[in-house]
Amino acid sequence: MMFKFVVIILFIFLSACLTQQVDDCTNYDYSDCNTLKPDSALVTIKFSTTKLKPFTLLKIYHGFAEDSNLVISDSFPEGILKLSLPVNKYYSVQAFYHLSDTKIIAVDGQKLKIWKVQVCDSICWNNNSPVIDVKLKR
């Protein structure tokens, strides 16, 4: 009985999440609505740079780094990088730093997920805008 109740509540909750309630469908602004299923979306990578070393080597992989499916390997400036990558895949990033005699490899990863939301008669595609943080900890 309790289990059924929880399932019903979850179903109602999820239904509400996947259906965006709009009061005025005729004047709705669809400029933010991506009606085509996207093949790629933006992944943000945050990393550290210093005045002495303004470029940081980043290695970006499909899956985990141990899987060796390297997508990009390059040095980037400015501490933040936005890449358009294929959706519904897991990406991991290694950032390479040198602090005095120690080599530090910062690792992080996220899955780039997309989903659809019904708005009036249209379907809009959203993604989770993943942020991969390989900044050095303080």
Partner: protein, 452 residues
């Protein structure tokens, strides 16, 4: 108050001389009273509440006025609208000389008001021991009951008037004479929290095992009315406990009153349910320091006699934390680590502020297995066992829940997470019983309508 109608005289639309008579009786003004009588005032004139001049004078303690009125033929038996006559009015305010005079003039010593309360009831309620002795000497009936079945002894016990109780007991009043709901004087005194009275009644061989119409015995009433200090008075007679009574433990469980369960156990009561650990508890909270935040869930059992908890707990870090892992000399990996702790522990409560205080201290230790994982790698975070000692303060919000402030020490991953953690938790006890619990709303407490 029963005699409210006497406080402010309301003479209504009476003839002038009758008003003067009532006014004079109320004020105790003899010359004015005599003048009213000379002027043919009606000696039986009454206010709109039915109060006569004799009742006023008796209640206000004007002996001479009473004598003048009786001498002039005032009706001693006249009763006001609430059934109070001159003798009862005098008794209510401890006017012994007037009561004596009225009795000698033919008043009925066992007269009662509309609630069935007589002079002995009043002296029992207001602790008029001299009047009580006087009435007993004059052969007032100590077993006389009001309309709810309350004897004077019941009234005295309900009011905690021990001197009057001893006078009534000397007069051979029945110590366990119950009211219509089956309450005995002992139950009434416990219900009202008069422990000296309860002790006195027990010394007079009051039956601690008596059961009222709601199947409550004295211990059950003590738990129901939160007068737990009475429980040790009753413990010596446990063997007499009538199993027809509701188990006092079940009343405590129904109230979710862990303190009552503890006091019952300490007083030597045995639950019919034979529950080893009488309460289950859950706890939710947060542990934190500058480095990270942990959600804490705990469940266990509480042992009430020695005040300790045995529990299983689970803590999980709410946000991942950047951790450095040394993999080779001069090479460190920085990962986002999640971490959990699962363990068992024991906690003991101490009462440095007194057992009645809402605050208490506790010491706790748990033995936990800690495990975690890193994001974006197959590598596993380090797993280890750790002992986590803690000290804390509990503040009881009510009888079954408390807020805890905890300082714990959890040493792991040196130099990366500060070992001291502060915690804030909410703990809730759920006393359990394997039998149906009584409906507290149906369990009546002792009440006397006409009193107070």
């Amino acid at each position: 108050m029963l005699f409210y109608c006497f406080i402010i005289p309301v003479f209504g639309q009476l003839p002038d001389e009758d008003q003067k008579l009532l006014q004079a009786a109320y004020e105790g003004n003899e010359s004015k009273l005599l003048q009213a009588l000379i002027n043919k005032a009606d000696i039986e004139a009454v206010t709109d509440k039915g109060v006569s001049a004799l009742i006023y004078a008796s209640q206000r303690g004007f002996d001479n006025i009473v004598k003048i009125l009786v001498y002039n033929g005032a009706n001693i038996s006249h009763t006001a609208n609430d059934g109070v006559n001159a003798f009862l009015a005098a008794s209510m305010l401890n006017r012994i000389s007037i009561a004596d005079y009225l009795l000698k003039s033919g008043a009925d010593i066992n007269s009662v008001n509309k609630s069935g309360a007589g002079a002995l009831h009043f002296c029992a309620a207001y602790n008029y021991d001299s009047l009580c002795r006087f009435l007993i000497e004059k052969k007032a009936n100590p077993e006389f009951k009001d309309i709810d079945g309350n004897t004077p002894l019941m009234i005295a016990a309900f009011s905690g008037n021990n001197t009057v109780i001893s006078i009534l007991v000397e007069a051979k009043a029945q110590i366990d004479n119950p009211d219509k709901n089956g309450f005995t004087p002992l139950m009434a005194s416990i219900n009202r929290g008069y422990l000296n009275t309860a002790q006195f009644l027990i010394r007079q061989n009051a039956n601690v095992s008596a059961v009222n119409n709601n199947k409550l015995n004295a211990a059950g009433i003590a738990v129901l009315s939160d007068h737990l200090a009475a429980l040790p008075l009753l413990k010596n007679d446990l063997k007499k406990t009538d199993t027809a009574a509701i188990d006092p433990f079940r009343i405590a469980y129904a109230k979710m009153d862990i303190n009552a369960v503890r006091k019952l156990k300490k007083a030597g009561f045995k639950s019919f349910d034979k529950v080893l650990f009488p309460s289950f508890f859950t706890l939710v909270g947060l542990n934190f320091n500058a480095d990270h935040l942990l959600f804490n869930f705990k469940a266990g059992v509480h042992e009430v006699v020695n005040n300790f908890d045995v529990f299983a707990d689970y803590q999980v870090r709410l946000f991942r934390k950047k951790i450095w892992v040394n993999v080779a000399p001069g090479v460190e990996y920085q990962y986002w680590e999640s971490r959990s702790f699962a363990g068992i522990g024991i906690s003991k409560d101490f009462f440095p502020f007194g057992e009645k205080n809402k605050h208490l201290l506790f010491l706790q230790t748990s033995f936990s297995y800690s495990y975690g994982n890193f994001r974006a790698t197959y590598k596993k975070a380090e797993s280890f066992f750790v002992i986590i000692p803690a000290v804390g303060l509990k503040y009881f919000i009510d009888n079954s829940s408390n807020i805890q402030f905890v300082l714990s020490y959890c040493s792991y991953q040196p130099n990366q997470i500060f070992p001291l953690h502060l915690g804030i938790n909410l703990q809730s006890y759920f006393p359990f019983s394997n039998k149906k619990l009584p409906d507290l709303y149906k369990l009546k407490q002792k009440h006397i309508d006409w009193l107070y």
